[in-house]
């Protein structure tokens, strides 16, 4: 990567971070509006939605973070094979530092032993970069900013789970998903979206659960069994009455996305990542010259 390219890519990554932190993607806004319409006029739930909607507009207009917890910085990038992945990672880290200086990201990364804030969002594990080479000529860059409130509501089940009576089958998986919603109540800043992974080892399960959140809100799972789990758990979760912020109401979840990984015969994990209503994810197709060609959400 030469100096001109580095500059172009740096600008592109900063713009992707800015847009992700300050604007919700269209599919999420539509889901929020749909949730809002379902609530009764004058209810606490409607009130919460009205403030949420106002906030979405205001953040975009002011180009300032939608939520002050700008979250874990999760990058998923496919890049042309001929590019140097290490050089790319370096530019991405620089973009995070610059975006933090510009205020698109909060100083949000703390040494786990000393409690010291690096002030730059750079440190072991931050940002989280998932880079994969591919055989195309362009870059596919996706970014998710996931706040601590909802991340704390993530949970992993090991089936069978006697507490909720969940066995090692599809019925057991569905019970786990609904139990996770019940446990979260309003604490994950609902109405939420769940990313779920069935199977894998513990680490792979959580990774997959987050990657499920890269799917568009309205898409249909190509696997009919998984599609069935998604539809049924959203419907059932919305009978629980937890509502936005846990105030009570009809919209407790806006979506569930489920993926399945192979597992060891001895293990059966169900990993759930809870995403808040402030679902900040964006993506862009970036040319080999470092120009943003198209937004992906």
């Amino acid at each position: 990567m030469n100096a001109t390219q580095q500059k172009k890519f740096l600008e592109a990554f900063i713009e992707i971070i800015r847009k992700t932190s300050t604007e919700l993607p269209k599919d999420v806004i539509e889901a929020v509006q749909k949730g809002m319409q379902a609530e009764q006029a004058g209810s606490n739930a409607k009130y919460a939605f009205e403030i949420i909607e106002k906030n979405i507009g205001l953040a975009k207009q002011k180009s300032q973070p939608l939520c002050q917890d700008t979250g874990s910085i999760l990058f998923y990038v496919h890049y042309p094979r001929k590019f140097d992945g290490e050089a790319l990672a370096k530019v991405m880290r620089k973009a995070v530092v610059d975006a933090t200086k510009k205020g698109y990201l909060r100083q949000n990364s703390v040494d786990s032993l000393t409690g010291k804030n690096s002030g730059t969002n750079i440190g072991p594990g931050s940002p989280s970069l998932h880079l994969e080479p591919w055989n195309k000529d362009h870059f596919d860059v996706r970014l998710m900013l996931k706040g601590g409130g909802c991340e704390n509501m993530g949970v992993q089940y090991s089936l069978p789970d006697n507490r909720i009576g969940a066995g090692r089958d599809v019925a057991g998986v569905k019970k786990c998903i609904l139990d996770a919603v019940q446990n979260a109540q309003g604490k994950g800043c609902g109405p939420g979206i769940l990313g779920v992974a069935i199977g894998g080892d513990r680490g792979a399960g959580y990774l997959e659960s987050k990657e499920q959140l890269l799917r568009k809100m309205g898409d249909k799972n190509p696997d009919p069994v998984l599609a069935g789990i998604e539809e049924e758990t959203v419907r059932e979760a919305n009978t629980l009455g937890i509502g936005p912020m846990g105030f009570g109401g009809k919209t407790t979840l806006m979506g569930v996305k489920v993926g399945a990984l192979n597992r060891l015969p001895a293990s059966f994990f169900v990993s759930v990542s809870y995403m808040c209503w402030a679902f900040r994810r964006q993506g862009a197709q970036v040319s080999a010259k470092g120009e943003i060609k198209k937004w992906l959400y």
Binding site: N55, Q64, P65, N117, K175, D179, Q185, G186, K187, E232
Partner: protein, 196 residues
């Protein structure tokens, strides 16, 4: 919509009930993890909190033209302060706690006993809430705790909130959780029946 002016009288707080939607104006103080632990350890607050409001918030505040300006001011998760909150309400005579996610039994009891309420802000709504902050009146313990954890004295106008724990022993969190637990049992039964 109920309009509230801080600081409060006990009577005013006792007139609120769970589910009330309120807009708060007046002076509030931010306080999160470090401040709560520090007060709990026996330290005295640098400013009187009597009849006042603590907001669980680590705001983003920057210096513009010699003045502090709040750029983002959403609530943080309150339950982390549960071990400390009841004692602090009682010792310093707080009338309201603002936060998100609700609080538990000890705080609910302290609210009932002392005449305090928990007012729930909308999590994630950093910009709407920052707009409601009209002025930074002062900052305390900035050196000790750093910016997000310092005690910021803010003047707010029409700060939108919902009462979720009142001074009569009611907690919306407790009610919703119990009701949703019952519905979860029904949901499990429905799914089991559909399978057959």
């Amino acid at each position: 919509m109920i309009r509230l002016e801080a600081p409060f009288t006990e009577e005013k707080i006792r007139s609120l009930k769970v589910g009330d939607m309120v807009e708060l104006s007046g002076t509030i103080f931010t306080g999160r993890d470090a401040v709560h632990k520090w007060l709990h350890e026996g330290n005295e607050p640098p400013v009187s909190l009597k009849d006042g409001v603590i907001y669980h918030c680590g705001p983003v505040v920057i210096r513009e033209k010699g003045k502090w300006v709040v750029k983002a001011a959403g609530p943080t998760t309150s339950i982390r302060e549960e071990p400390y909150q009841a004692g602090i309400i009682e010792r310093f005579g707080l009338r309201a706690i603002i936060g998100k996610g609700g609080m538990a039994e000890k705080t609910r009891q302290a609210c009932q006993k002392c005449g305090c309420a928990y007012l729930h802000a909308i999590g994630g709504a950093a910009q709407v809430l920052a707009e409601a902050v009209k002025e930074v009146e002062n900052v305390y313990e900035y050196e000790r705790f750093g910016s997000p954890e310092a005690i910021w004295q803010l003047r707010v106008e029409n700060f939108p909130l919902v009462v979720t724990i009142d001074a009569h022993g009611n907690s919306l969190h407790k009610e919703i959780e119990a009701a949703s637990a019952a519905r979860l049992t029904e949901s499990f039964a429905r799914m089991a029946a559909a399978k057959r």
